[in-house]
Structure formats: C-alpha cells, structure tokens
C-alpha cells in the first residue's frame, strides 16, 4: 500500500463517519423549528413533541460529529501537513468565521434552544431555533468554500520564486475565491442533501416504530419525514446536476473521473495532465440506482409503516451520502488542488512547460503526502500500525452507536 493510498483511506474513513453525522446535525437544526412551527400553526402536538425528542439526539450527535471533526483535522495535519498548513495560512478568515459562528455561538444557542422548549413563548422559541440553524449553516458555508477551491482554485495566485523549494509562492484573493462557480451549487446541494438525509432517517425510524406499535405520533413522523425526504432529495438532484455542470466546465480531472471520459473542450496536449487516478463513473451510476431504490422505499413508507422499507431507507440513504462525498473527494486524485486549464495555459506561456509541470506535480496528493510525513513513513515501514488503527477505530465506531443507544433509547426505558 503506497503512502497516498494510506492517507486517502484514513481520511476517507473519518469523513465517511463525520459526514452523515454533520449532515444530520444540519438537517435537524432546520427541521426542528420547522416541525415546531407546523405543530403550533396546525395545532398538532405530535410535531412539537417530535421536535423536542429529536432535540436530545441533536445534542448527542453534535458532540460526536465534533469528535470526528477533530480526528479529521489531526489526520489532515499528520498526513498532509504542508497542504493543511497552507490551507490554514491562506484561508484563515474562512476557518475563523466557521469556528466562531458554527461552534462558539451555535453551541450555547443549541443548549438554550433545547432547554427553553416549555419556557419561551412558542413563536419566539421557533425564532431561536431558526437563528441557531442559521449559525450552524455557517460551518458548511465556509468549509464548502474550501472544497470549491480544491475543485477550481480561482483566487489562488502562483508566483515563481527561486527561494521557495517548490519553485513558487502562494497567495489568495478571498474576494475571487467567494466567486468560485462551483461553490453555490455545492453549498445548496449540501444543504438539500442534509435535509433529505435527516428527513429520510426521521421517516425510517418512525416507520419502524409505527410498524411495531401504530399510533398518531409515529404516523405523523413517518409521513412528513418521507414527503420531506422526497422533496429535498429532488432539490439535491437539481443542485447536484448544476454542480456537475460547473465541475465539467472548471475542474477537468473531477469531471473526467465522475463521468468516465474527459471534457470535450480539453486539448489533447493536456489529456495526460488532467487524467484522473480513478474512473468513478460506476459510483455515479450506483448512486443514481440507490436513489431510485430509496425513492421506492420512501413511497412505500408514505403509504404504510414498513420495517423492511424503513431498514432499506436507513441504509440506502446513508450509503448515498457517503458514496457522494467519496465520489466528490476521490475524483480529484491525483490532485489535491486541480489546476485550472486557463491557469495551466497561462503558466506555460509565462514560465514555460517545465514550470507548469512542476506546479502541477506539486499540487498532487502524492507530493503532499510524501513530503514531511513521518506517520506515513512509519506506516509504510510497518503496515500493522494501520491495521491496528483500523481495528481500534472500528471498535470505537461500534461503541459510539452503543452510546447513542444508551443515551437516547435505553435511558428512556
């Protein structure tokens, strides 16, 4: 196993746990006040109770999501130290805004929202919930900007430098970075996906319980959850298609990997530069097939409570989210930042082909991973460290699910 594969595997594993959790956090942050609002407007106490019950779940998974966020940061710093260093140095306002709004302000507001269900006037409590959701959305709003930059590093400026050991200096124009064309569809797709996943999970759990002991509470959660999941899933598909279109225009490697063939505008001279490491078109087709299965299961759930459909929705929805994130992340390889075609041409014209090739090589994951990474070297020397790590993390993953069970299910018995 080479160093780049080790690094990508570890980071992908942490992401695959982190992402569904933070999607659920974001989805619940918007769904809870919405459920409350609907409950108060329609006089349906079930919706209000549902919001309150799921509030406890939100706090627990927020903490676990934060834990995995820390794990990802350590992995990034340990496995891609230069990349993480540069990302921190150049995009510090992005990280700063995310931490202040998304954690320092949102965390106490979440606690306040949860503890004031019965003590604040209903509509004021709903307003607190939506305000909390707005602050929580700042985290994906900021982080997705960086994801957009690695698709298409508009705003990142490269200047040739003889003193720099990589041959050039880096700087960023954040104003231009915000105008990244892949950013709006990526952010909107993320929010829609978060709401779709959370609604699907809500439909799944209420369908399962409703099948065992039918009552109006489970009925309400099952039906509303499934309908919202389909609606937000449709929005996700629309924003996802928009995102793919922008990626096709601006990020040749990602588009090639996802669609299975190079963009038609790519000059043949650049084919070898932009060729992706993996052809992931099969994963795109798999995601589409899973989405169809999920849609069928959700339609069944709308019609009647079903344990089979509930289990299917739970597993397929999580699989779609993880597969989509893996698809989006791994499609960049071999690059950590995909060099834009215009910039490549400009570098060739300004500094010659060899400098452009040097820049392209420097932006590859393998360069970042094999530069100054003792952990990767150690793992490469003794792969058992990686396997022991994997077993340890798998053990704790299982324990985390047991914790959620004890904290939320067993506790109530």
């Amino acid at each position: 196993m080479n160093a780049a594969t080790i690094a990508v595997a570890l980071i992908a594993w942490a992401f695959s746990i982190h992402i569904p959790i933070v999607y659920t956090v974001l989805g619940l942050a918007w769904l809870l006040p919405t459920l409350e609002y609907l409950g108060y407007r329609r006089g349906n106490e079930n919706y209000v109770s549902m919001a309150r019950n799921m509030g406890a779940y939100l706090i627990t998974i927020y903490a676990i999501g934060g834990l995995f966020g820390t794990i990802i940061t350590v992995f990034l710093a340990g496995l891609l130290p230069v990349f993480t260093d540069v990302a921190g140095a150049l995009f510090w306002p992005v990280w700063g805004v995310a931490i202040v709004f998304g954690i320092v302000i949102a965390l106490p507001m979440l606690g306040f929202y949860y503890r004031t269900f019965a003590s604040l006037p209903p509509m004021r409590h709903v307003a607190v919930g939506y305000l909390t959701a707005v602050f929580m959305t700042v985290i994906p709003a900021m982080f997705r900007m960086v994801f957009a930059v690695i698709n298409y590093p508009i705003g990142v400026e490269i200047t040739k430098s003889s003193s720099s050991i990589i041959g050039f200096n880096l700087s960023v124009n954040l104003g231009q970075a915000i105008g990244n064309p892949t950013y709006p569809p990526l952010l909107l797709a993320t929010i829609a996906a978060a709401l779709a996943l959370t609604s699907a999970l809500m439909a799944s759990i209420h369908s399962w319980r409703g099948a065992s002991s039918p009552n109006a509470y489970y009925e309400a959660g099952r039906s509303l959850g499934a309908k919202l999941a389909i609606a937000f899933g449709a929005l996700w598909a629309v924003f996802g298609a928009w995102y793919l279109y922008e990626v096709y225009l601006y990020s040749p490697t990602v588009a090639w990997s996802i669609m299975g063939r190079p963009p038609s505008y790519l000059p043949s001279a650049f084919l070898s530069v932009y060729q992706p490491t993996y052809d992931l078109a099969w994963l795109l087709y798999l995601i589409i097939a899973l989405a169809v299965v999920d849609l069928i299961a959700l339609v069944i759930i709308i019609r009647r409570p079903s344990k089979t459909a509930a289990a299917l929705t739970l597993m397929v929805s999580l699989a779609i989210v993880d597969a989509s994130e893996v698809l989006n992340g791994v499609a960049h390889m071999p690059y950590a930042l995909v060099p834009p075609l215009g910039a490549a041409e400009s570098l060739v014209n300004s500094y010659g082909v060899s400098f452009a090739v040097q820049v392209a090589h420097t932006l590859q994951v393998s360069t970042f991973v094999s530069t100054l990474t003792p952990l990767v070297d150690l793992i490469a020397m003794d792969p058992a460290i990686l396997y022991i790590s994997a077993v340890g993390f798998a053990f704790f993953n299982v324990l985390i699910f047991v914790v959620i069970y004890y904290a939320l299910v067993h506790r109530g018995k």
Partner: protein, 437 residues
C-alpha cells in the same frame, strides 16, 4: 520587539486561550478521578452519600469534558489559523502523540457517556471499570498532549530543524533522522515533563474542589464533607511532595542541561558569564561551588523575558510549597481524626486560588521561558548555543491581529468558561430532594 518573537498581542491572546484550556482540561481530569474514587469508597463503605458525591462529580466532569472539547476545537483552529506554520512542524515531526491522542479522546468521550447513563443499570464493579477507563482516557490524553508540549521546551533526541521556504508561507520544518525516531517524543526527559504536568493538573483541580469543601464544611459542619476532605487533602500533600521533591528536581536538572538560558531567566541569575551560585549549586549538585551561566551571557534577541523569577520562584515554587505545607499539616490532623484550629482550616479557602496562581506560574515559566524558540536545542559550547524554531516563523504570515480582532477573540475565549460556570451552576445547585450537594 524582536524579529524572533511573534506580535505581543497575539501571544497574550493565545496564552489566555491556552491557560483557559489547561484549566478546563485539568478540572475534567480531577473531577472524573474524584467521581471514580467516590464510587470506589461507596462500593467499599456502602455509604449512600458517597454515591451521591460520585454522581455529582460525574455530571461535573461531563460538563468540563464537553466545554473543554469545544474549547479544544477553538485552540485547534487557533493553531491552524494564527500559528499556521506549527501545523507543518506538527505533521513533519510531532504527529505521533497527536495520533495516539485520538484514541485517548475516543476513550474519554465514549466511556464517560457509558459511565453517566449506566449508574443504576450495571453492576457496581462493571460501572467502576467504566469509570476507570474514562480516567485512563483522561490521563492518557493529557500524557500525549504533554509529550508535544515537552518537545517545544526540549527538542527530542534525533530531531533536526531545517530552514525551508515552501511557497513563501512556511520557513522552517523539523524532521527526525529516521521514521522510528518519532517514538523519541516519549524519551525520558519528556516523561519527567509529562508526569510533572499530569500531577500539576490533579493538584490544581483537587485543590479547587477541596477549597470549596473546606468552605462548605466550616459553614455547615456536615461530616460527609469532612470525610471528603480526609481523602482529598492528604492526597494533595503527597502529590505536592512528589511534584516538588522528585519530579520538580528532575525537571530542574533537565532545564539545566537542555536550556541553561531558561534556567538563568527562571532563577534570576542576572549576570554575564560564569558565576558561582552556592544555593542553586547545592540544590542541583549537593555542593556550593558550582558556577552557572548568567542571563546576560546570551544576546538580548534570544533572551526570554526578565520577569520569569516572579512566576517561577514566587508563584510556582513559593505557592507550591505553601500548598504542600498546609495540606501536609491539615492532612495529618484529618488522618488522626482531629480537626485543625479553625483559623488554620480557614486558610484552606485560599487553596484553590493559590493552586491556580501556582499553575499559572508553572505554565508561564515553562512556555515563556523557552521564548523566542520552540523545539529548543542546546548545541553546546561556551557559553552553550541555544537555538530552535523561532516563534515568529510559526506565526501565520498572512494574518494581522488588530486590537479589535484580539478583543473579539478574547471575548470568544472567555465566553466558553462563562458557559461552563453557568452549566456547573445548573448541575450542582441544591435540590429539594436532598442528596449531594
């Protein structure tokens, strides 16, 4: 202002953040240990009040872990954004303890939730084992983070510091000569630093809690509160003795060999060249004729601030000795089932604040004393050449912290302890149904 230093405002902001994080982390370590000790006493003595005490400290520990972890995320982002070039040094050399710390963090987070939600659902032995695993996670987490902090003051053996301009953003990297040398992060010098830090965290947190119980006992005369003090105060006395006489002595010897400039600053040896210091010579070598390099031997550009003796000698050593002395005398009274004179017992109100000041003294001595370098190395010679990675080079070259931004960051830093205090109030306020507190 010297070019080897980062801007003063940023250092003040970061120092405040680190001190708050140390306080929250220390309180978690101390309170979860107290919860498990209390439950152990309950299991042995079957006194229900110890179970109430254990449950209360379990809740309190959970709050400290939650808010401490949120604050840890803030510190982590502070490293990535303000001290961004520390990240490449961390990744290139110091990563192993961070990686192992992830497991410790998982231990803490997972087992404290089990511990909290299974008080009446599991057998006492199993529940105690869960508590012990949480305590292990807490100390193991501290162990690894302190290994990193140790390396900042004393570069581990085999570490090579290199100047390297990468992209105009990174100017220094640090690497080990071979991959297996990453385990040198845990060399014996680091062990002394680590255990010194872990004991300090326990003494600090237990002293804060003990001072509260001294106050509560003297105002309520509750025998259970005296029983709690009978456990805590002799323990503080023993830990302070180990800290001062054993680990402190070893730590001093390490500073003498690894960073004689820091030693000169700490001890207030404000002279130039070699000069005999009989008192320090006696403590270090058992003789009175050993000469030490003075503070002014080295150029001003690499000298740490001259205020260190106040933090080291007055706050850390002075208050540490006072804490140890008071705890030893009081502990003897309590172990012999007697109560010390009230005026003496009342001095215990100051135990927590004194431990806090002593901890600040220790932290400032350790962290400011190594300035303006991290990964400090003694290259030898006469006088010894002291070097390392300049603090200015790990500062993000693209960031400028204005007074307004610094004030905003400080507000954020202080908001989390405020939230912690409010949550502690909610978790420990007196209940109508009785029980602890």
């Amino acid at each position: 202002m010297n070019s080897l230093y980062a801007p003063l405002l940023v250092r003040y902001v970061s120092a405040t953040g680190i001190l708050v994080h140390l306080l929250l982390a220390s309180m978690f370590i101390g309170t979860i240990t107290l919860a498990v000790v209390s439950e152990g006493i309950y299991a042995y003595a079957k006194d229900a009040r110890w179970l109430d005490t254990a449950k209360m400290f379990g809740r309190v520990a959970g709050i400290f872990l939650g808010t401490g972890a949120a604050f840890g995320t803030l510190v982590e982002f502070g490293l990535v954004t303000i001290w961004s070039n520390f990240v490449s040094i961390m990744g290139s050399a110091l990563v192993l303890p961070f990686y192992i710390e992830l497991y410790a963090f998982l231990f803490e987070v997972v087992f404290i939730v089990f511990y909290e939600f299974t008080w009446s659902k599991l057998g006492r032995g199993v529940h105690l084992a869960l508590g012990a695993l949480t305590v292990f996670g807490a100390y193991f987490s501290a162990y690894n983070i302190l290994a990193v902090m140790s390396s900042l003051s004393m570069a581990p053996p085999g570490l090579i510091i290199k100047q390297a301009d990468i992209g105009g953003l990174i100017s220094y990297v640090a690497v080990f000569q071979s991959p297996t040398q990453v385990f040198n992060m845990y060399w014996w010098g680091a062990q002394v630093f680590i255990w010194h830090g872990m004991l300090a965290a326990t003494i600090l947190s237990w002293s804060i809690v003990a001072s509260i119980y001294v106050y509560k006992y003297l105002h309520g005369r509750d025998p259970h509160h005296l029983a709690i003090l009978r456990v805590m105060i002799p323990t503080i006395a023993v830990l302070t003795a180990v800290e001062g006489f054993l680990l402190g002595h070893d730590q001093g010897e390490l500073v003498l060999s690894a960073d004689p400039l820091k030693l000169a600053a700490m001890e207030g040896m404000f002279w130039s060249g070699l000069k005999v210091d009989p008192l320090l010579s006696f403590f270090a070598f058992g003789t009175t004729n050993h000469a030490f390099w003075g503070y002014y031997t080295w150029p001003a550009s690499i000298r740490p601030p001259a205020f260190l003796p106040f933090f080291y000698l007055v706050l850390m050593v002075g208050l540490g000795a006072a804490i140890g002395g008071w705890a030893a005398v009081t502990g003897l009274y309590l172990l012999f089932r007697r109560e010390p004179p009230t005026w003496w017992f009342k001095l215990g109100y100051a135990l927590g604040p004194a431990a806090g000041l002593a901890s600040i003294g220790g932290a400032v001595t350790s962290e400011t004393g190594r300035n303006p370098f991290i990964l400090v190395q003694n290259l030898g010679g006469n006088p010894p050449a002291i070097t390392g990675v300049p603090v200015s080079s790990i500062y993000n070259p693209t960031i400028t912290v204005s007074p307004l931004l610094a004030a905003a960051i400080l507000l954020v830093i202080l908001a989390i302890p405020g939230l912690t205090a409010y949550m502690l109030y909610l978790a420990t306020r007196p209940r109508r149904a009785g029980g602890e507190p």
